[in-house]
């Protein structure tokens, strides 16, 4: 009898113990889904990354101490290079038996080719298994750039969407159509100052700037998956661009790129320019090159509201020897909290949530409102593979039209033919 009682008590104890154990496990699971309880000290490794020598890289470098406070066993080694060197260095590393870099940043034209070549690995599983990462919070156009064949190969690092930068003391009403932009530029042109500093340099710059004119004229780059440039909108955009170059741009500026236009605007030689949105703080910096003009510059969306989008994405090479540590860093710097830190330090935003963060937007709320509009309606120059070649071919044809070497129709036809041939290859 006593034995039966003891057995019964023992059964009850085991039942309670088992229930408690299940409850503890369940509680543990619940807590981990709400708050990441990852042991950050367990992740270790040295992550070598090549980055462009630009302010956004300096901002990332400045946040490494905070990252290491959370991940003390992950060492980030940043090597900087000029843009021209980066892609070749990455390709050499991706194809080597022993990689030079464990983490990469990809310019938007590279994503399709590198994904197709298997140089970078899909991040879908890593994103899904990272609690609270909220990938959908990145703006939709930026997300699209990092995706190829239905998989995510890059998460946004910073944007370089374009917009219209103008002198608020000289331009009273922001142009809302392409014709208004042309008329404003012409009316502001004087003997000593151009209405708009343009960037017709052969290749990427020509296409990048003209793409904004195409969108402002109501055109698109792709129709049914093919590049379509023999349209009335494209013709109007190119005719307007050429007319504006002749009437309102600085003389002899056919070879001008981004830095030339910036110098012209900051030195009071031009009133407006189509440029990267994050140039505004640089121009308005009282200690910068603008001198007394600092504070007089404003940013607007392109007439029509749509603009060309560029971006850099974080990606993990397939042959990375420290992919866990690399993702630890990427998921930290591109998390919602990391984005706030980066944007507060002056970095270009990529997440929707950051526009509602009072800390990040405190310096100039109007500027962030405009960037929010820009990022919600922007499109890259190229989708798919062979983007560098396609952009260069179109940019060369456009430059030929700017230089008067080809007619508008011939240049657009040649650009369309070459672009589709290159992308089909």
């Amino acid at each position: 009898m006593k034995g039966v009682k003891v057995k019964k008590i023992s059964k009850v104890v085991r039942l309670i113990a088992a229930t408690t154990a299940v409850a503890v496990v369940l509680v543990g699971c619940t807590s981990s889904s709400e708050e990441p309880a990852t042991d950050t000290t367990a992740t270790s490794g040295t992550v070598r990354v090549l980055m462009e020598g630009v302010p956004d890289t300096d901002i990332v470098s400045g946040l490494l101490a905070e990252f290491n406070a959370e991940y003390p066993n992950v060492k980030i080694e940043i090597e900087t290079a000029s843009y021209d060197q980066m892609r070749d260095k990455y390709v050499a590393s991706f194809t080597a038996a022993e990689p030079t870099y464990d983490l990469a940043i990809l310019d938007n034209p590279w994503v399709g080719d590198f994904a197709k070549a298997g140089f970078v690995k899909p991040l879908d599983n890593l994103i899904a298994s990272t609690n609270g990462y909220d990938y959908e919070d990145f703006t939709a156009p930026l997300r699209a750039i990092g995706e190829a064949d239905g998989q995510i190969y890059g998460v946004p690092f910073y944007n370089y969407a374009l917009g219209l930068i103008y002198r608020s003391d000289l331009v009273s009403v922001e142009p809302t159509t392409l014709d208004e932009l042309a008329a404003t530029a012409k009316s502001l042109t004087t003997a000593g100052r151009a209405g708009i500093a343009m960037q017709p340099q052969k290749g990427y710059k020509a296409f990048e700037e003209w793409g904004n004119y195409l969108f402002a004229a109501g055109g698109t780059l792709y129709t049914d998956g093919k590049v379509k440039l023999t349209t009335p909108e494209a013709r109007k955009a190119l005719q307007t661009y050429i007319a504006m170059y002749k009437s309102s741009a600085p003389k002899n500026s056919l070879n001008w790129g981004f830095d030339d236009a910036l110098r012209s605007v900051s030195s009071d030689k031009s009133v407006m320019m189509v440029s990267y949105n994050w140039m505004l703080p640089t121009l308005n910096n009282p200690e910068g090159d603008s001198g007394a003009l600092a504070g007089k510059f404003k940013l607007a969306t392109m007439p029509g509201g749509k603009q060309v989008l560029g971006s850099w994405h974080w990606a993990i090479p397939s042959n990375s020897s420290a992919s866990d540590a690399a993702w630890a860093f990427v998921s930290w710097i591109s998390s919602k909290a990391g984005e706030v830190k980066r944007v507060t330090a002056g970095g270009a935003p990529t997440r929707t949530s950051v526009f509602n963060d009072p800390t990040a937007t405190a310096k100039d709320p109007n500027y962030f409102t405009t960037i929010s509009k820009i990022l919600s309606n922007a499109e890259p120059l190229c989708q798919g593979s062979n983007c560098d070649e396609m952009i260069n071919a179109v940019g060369t044809e456009l430059n030929a039209a700017f230089a008067g070497k080809k007619s508008v129709d011939d240049a657009l036809r040649a650009a369309e033919d070459q672009a589709n041939k290159i992308q089909a290859d």
Binding site: D88, V91, T95, D113, F114, K116, A117, G118, F119, Q201, K202, G203, P250, K251, N252, S253, L254, N255, W256, D260, R263, S264, S267, K269, S385, N386, D388, E389, N392, T396, N399, A400, F402, A403, G404, K405, K406
Partner: protein
């Protein structure tokens, strides 16, 4: 027996050269030839197929390839022509110089020792419309000239090459002038020949072997024009300064099409070899005639 031993020694002495040459030149050449027969792209892993002469046919049908060949030819002809006559003029002047010869020659040769990419970057800023010293100087007189504009960029690149490589011509031609026998000149002077007559009938013919070599070396070197284009124009405006080397670089490195770029390089190699053989024969013929 003796001859056999000597042959064996010759072969053994040649062996290091053959090994080094095979490794450093032979292997890359053979590999490039193999690539030229494939559709190899850096970004198409494991997808490479032998396409035989397809890349060569594609190159020959590419209007941009022919255009870049034409641009390169115009550049070489103009640059070498100006460098030769300017170099000869300077060499003749230096030959007469008696004082501070070493200092003058050191200064004159300085551009040659600077790497071409640095020269390209230097001129990019010197001729920049906003920052450049030359456009600023011209502006003081109300003049404006777009050095890299349509119809002008290639000639600007030619002038940059002339600035850097005329000293090379001076160096060779001066050495040639100083090595000429004095007696024909003394005889001409006694006979009352004019300076122009002496130059045309004695100096130039006697200097011809050196001139041929100088033009040969400079022409082959000028065909490699890449750095100025890369640093300044990137082939623009449109494709006005797209030289063959830059076009091949773009195709192979920038656009990953190594198979096609190898075919372009091989076709260029054939063209260069034909030109080199013609010029070498000319040099040889000139030497024999003397």
């Amino acid at each position: 027996m003796y001859e056999g031993v000597q042959m064996s020694l010759r072969l053994r002495l040649m062996l290091p050269l053959v090994v080094v040459f095979s490794a450093s030149v032979g292997y890359p050449l053979l590999h490039a030839f193999y690539l030229s027969l494939t559709n190899y792209k850096i970004t198409s892993r494991g997808d490479t197929k032998i396409v035989w002469l397809q890349q060569y046919i594609a190159t020959l049908q590419d209007p941009n390839y022919w255009s870049s060949l034409r641009v390169t030819a115009v550049f070489v002809i103009l640059a070498v022509f100006i460098e030769f006559w300017l170099g000869l003029f300077v060499a003749l002047a230096l030959q007469k110089q008696r004082k501070i010869k070493d200092l003058t020659r050191s200064f004159l040769l300085a551009p040659m020792f600077v790497t071409p990419i640095a020269i390209g970057l230097m001129f990019r800023f010197i001729l920049n419309q906003q920052l450049g010293v030359i456009p600023t100087f011209l502006a003081k007189f109300g003049l404006a000239y777009d050095f890299f504009g349509p119809g002008k960029a290639l000639f600007t690149i030619v002038l940059i090459d002339v600035w850097q490589w005329t000293p090379f011509m001076v160096l060779l031609l001066l050495a040639g002038l100083e090595g000429l026998s004095k007696s024909p000149f003394e005889a001409a002077k006694i006979d009352g020949a004019s300076a122009l007559f002496t130059f045309r009938k004695i100096t130039l013919p006697m200097l011809m072997p050196v001139i041929s070599v100088a033009i040969l070396i400079r022409s082959l070197d000028a065909m490699k024009i890449f750095e100025y284009v890369f640093a300044i124009t990137r082939g623009g405006p449109a494709i006005e300064t797209m030289t063959i080397q830059y076009y091949t670089y773009q195709t192979g490195i920038q656009f990953y099409r190594l198979g096609l770029a190898s075919a372009m390089s091989y076709l260029m190699l054939i063209i260069v070899m034909i030109i080199a053989v013609i010029l070498f024969r000319r040099v040889e013929a000139t030497r024999k005639n003397q």
